[in-house]
Symmetry: C2
Subunit: 326 residues, 2 copies
DNA sequence: GGAAGGCCTGTTAGCGATACCATGAGCTGG
DNA sequence: CCAGCTCATGGTATCGCTAACAGGCCTTCC
C-alpha cells in the first residue's frame, strides 16, 4: 500500500480512502491512485483490514450433508446471493447432527472471524445449538423449527404437505398413507404435521406414518411393505428419492401407478419428471430459501431488525403418478 | 491475550507458544496458561495471526454448479479432509464457466488470504484459467485435462468408459452408441475417448456420439431419437441422470431394457439402483477424489513435491439394465 | 570451581490496514 | 479583510499476534 501511495504521490491514508470511500477523494487524485493500484497490481490485505475493522466480508455456513439435494441447493443459493453482495462463504460441515458438533462448527467459523453464520441443519439438535450461540454473533437458521432465538428462512413444509394430501384426497382416495423422513428432522415432522392436519380436518382415518431415511433404498424397503396392503391406494412420500424406491416396489408387486396407487413426492428434484411414472411432487425453491437466509443475515449484521421469519411457498407439481395425463 | 498472560502470570509470548508450540513450554506453565485460556474463554484472533504468519488455515474451492451430484460430492470430500486437518473451506462458485470468471473466483479467494486453491471445474476453460494463475499460490485441479501446470486429482474417466464399453460388447452387441456430456467438459471428452478407443481396438463401427447436457431432460429427448433406430441395442450414457431419461424414452417407445437395448450410465448416484430397471453404471468415488485433491494441496502448501497426478479408479457396477439378474 | 551450553521465558518490533484527529487551502459572508 | 466554515489530505496510534533475538538460571563436565 505504501508503494501505491508513493507512486500516486499521496499518503497511504488516501489510498485507503479511495478503496473504501471514493466519494471523499477528489476525482483527480482518485484516478491517480487507481492507476497506481492497477500498475502495481495492488490487492488489499484482508487480514489487516479485519484486524482493525472487525469486519471480514466472510460468512459461515454450518451444514450437515451437502451431497443431499436440498442442502446442496440451499448452499448454492446462499453462495450466489453472497457473491452478488461481495461476501465470501466458508463452510463447516458436520460429521454428525448434535448440539456438540453444531457448536463446534460455529466455533470453527467464528475463529475465522466470520461476520455471521447460517445454520443449514433442519434437525432438532440445531435448535439446541442455536440456543447456546455465542452472544454478538449474527446468525440465521434455515428450515428451522419453532421458537428459535434467531431469524429463520424456510419452505413452508406444513403447507406443502397439506397441498399434497388434499390433492390425493381430491382424486377420491379414502385416506392417504405417509412415508416420512427420519424423526428429529424438522422437514420431516413439518410434513407429517401438514399431512395429518388435512386428514383430521376431513375426518379421514390417519394411518401410522412409516419412517424412512430419505434414501431410495429405504423407500424401496418400506414400499414393499405398503405394496402388500390392498388398502393402500394413495401414498404421500416425504421426498422424491424415497418416492422413487416406492414406485419401484409397487411396480415389482404388480401394483400400477397411478391406476391402483397414487404417489406424491416432495422436493421436485430435476429428475422427478423422468421417474416412471413421472412423479407428482411438491416443489421447494431451495435457491430462494438460500437467498432469503442471506438477506436475513445481512439485516442482522447491519443491525436492521427486519422480519424474523421468511417463508417460501412450495408448489404442487402434478404429473402422471397421480393421474393419467396425455 | 494480554489478560490471559496476566492471569497465568506469564508474558503474552508464552501464551502464544502454548498455543502454537506447546512442547517448548514447561508442562507446569503450560497447564497454568491453558487454565487461564479456559477461564477467560480466550480465542485467538486469526486475522492477527494471518497478518504476521501469512498462513490462514483456509483453503479456497472454485466450483461451478454445486447442485450437481459430482461437484457436490467432491466438495464434500474436500471439506471432510480439510476438517480433519483443521482447515476451513471457502467456496467461490462461478456464474459461468470461462477463463474470466475462474480468474475472478480465484482472485476473490486470494483476497481472503487463502493458503491454496482447489479448482473443481472440469471444463476446458479451467485449464486456461489455471495457466494464468498468480505465481506463488498453491493450486490443485480436480478432474482436469492434460498439460495443466498444477497437480490434478481425478477419476480415470477414460478407463471407466472403456470398462463400460467392453462390458456392453461382452454381452454380444455389435457396437455401442454413446450419449455424451457437453463438449468442453473434460469428463465428457474423457468418456468419449475411452468409449471410442475400445470400439476401435475391437474393430467395431464407431457411431457419431450424441451430445446431451447432463440433465435427464436431454437424455429423454435424445433417447427418443435413439429409440427409433432398430440398430441401437447398446447405449453408453455419460451420466446416470441422462441415462434415466434414456430409459424412459426407450420404455415409451416399447423397447425393453435390457432385452432389446442395454444401457450403462456413469456416476452411480445413490438412486441408480432404484431406476427402472436398476442401472448398470460406473461408480466414481467423488469423496476420494476430494480427499486426494486436499492432500495434493497440502503437499504444495508445505512445499513437498509429491506426485502431480492422483488417479482414482472407477468401478463398473453391473445391474439389470445390462442383463437380467435374479 | 568456573566456563560452556541448554532450557525456558521475556522484550521488542512489525505484519498492513483503518480510526481519529489535525492541518492547511480555498471559499463565503458580514 | 478576516472570522469561520468546508473539503481534501496527512500523521499517528492501534488492532492482536508472532519472529527473532536476548537473557537468566540451572546443569554438565573438565
Amino acid at each position: 500500500m505504501e508503494d501505491v501511495a508513493e507512486l500516486a504521490g499521496v499518503s497511504a491514508m488516501t489510498v485507503s480512502r479511495v478503496l473504501n470511500a471514493p466519494e471523499k477523494v477528489r476525482p483527480e487524485t482518485r484516478a491517480r491512485v487507481l492507476a497506481a493500484v492497477r500498475e502495481l497490481d495492488y490487492r488489499p490485505n484482508s487480514a489487516a483490514r479485519v484486524l482493525v475493522t472487525g469486519r471480514s466480508g466472510v460468512l459461515g455456513v454450518v451444514c450437515f450433508d451437502t451431497t443431499l439435494y436440498g442442502p446442496a441447493s440451499t448452499l448454492f443459493g446462499i453462495e450466489q446471493a453472497a457473491r452478488d453482495s461481495d461476501y465470501l462463504v466458508s463452510i463447516a460441515s458436520l460429521p454428525a447432527l448434535n448440539r456438540t458438533w453444531i457448536t463446534r462448527g460455529i466455533d470453527r467459523l467464528r475463529s475465522q472471524s466470520v461476520d455471521g453464520v447460517i445454520v443449514v441443519a433442519p434437525h432438532e439438535s440445531a435448535a439446541e445449538g442455536l440456543r447456546h450461540l455465542p452472544p454478538g454473533l449474527p446468525a440465521v437458521d434455515v428450515g428451522g423449527g419453532t421458537d428459535l432465538p434467531v431469524p429463520v428462512a424456510a419452505v413452508d413444509q406444513y403447507a406443502g404437505a397439506a397441498r399434497a394430501t388434499r390433492h390425493l384426497l381430491s382424486l377420491g382416495h379414502r385416506t392417504v398413507w405417509h412415508l416420512s423422513g427420519p424423526p428429529n428432522w424438522i422437514d420431516a415432522s413439518g410434513r407429517v404435521a401438514g399431512w395429518r392436519s388435512v386428514l383430521e380436518a376431513e375426518g379421514r382415518e390417519v394411518p401410522e406414518p412409516l419412517v424412512g431415511d430419505w434414501t431410495a433404498h429405504s423407500g424401496y424397503e418400506i414400499g414393499k411393505r405398503l405394496a402388500r396392503e390392498p388398502d393402500v391406494t394413495a401414498i404421500f412420500v416425504a421426498n422424491d428419492h424415497m418416492a422413487m424406491g416406492v414406485l419401484r416396489a409397487l411396480r415389482e408387486a404388480g401394483r400400477r401407478v397411478p391406476e391402483d396407487v397414487s404417489v406424491v413426492g416432495f422436493d421436485d428434484v430435476p429428475e422427478a419428471a423422468y421417474f416412471w411414472p413421472p412423479l407428482t411432487t411438491v416443489r421447494q425453491n431451495f435457491g430462494e430459501v438460500g437467498r432469503q437466509a442471506f438477506q436475513l443475515l445481512l439485516d442482522r449484521i447491519f443491525g436492521v431488525d427486519g422480519e424474523a421469519r421468511r417463508m417460501v411457498e412450495p408448489e404442487l407439481v402434478v404429473r402422471e403418478s397421480t393421474g393419467v395425463s396425455p
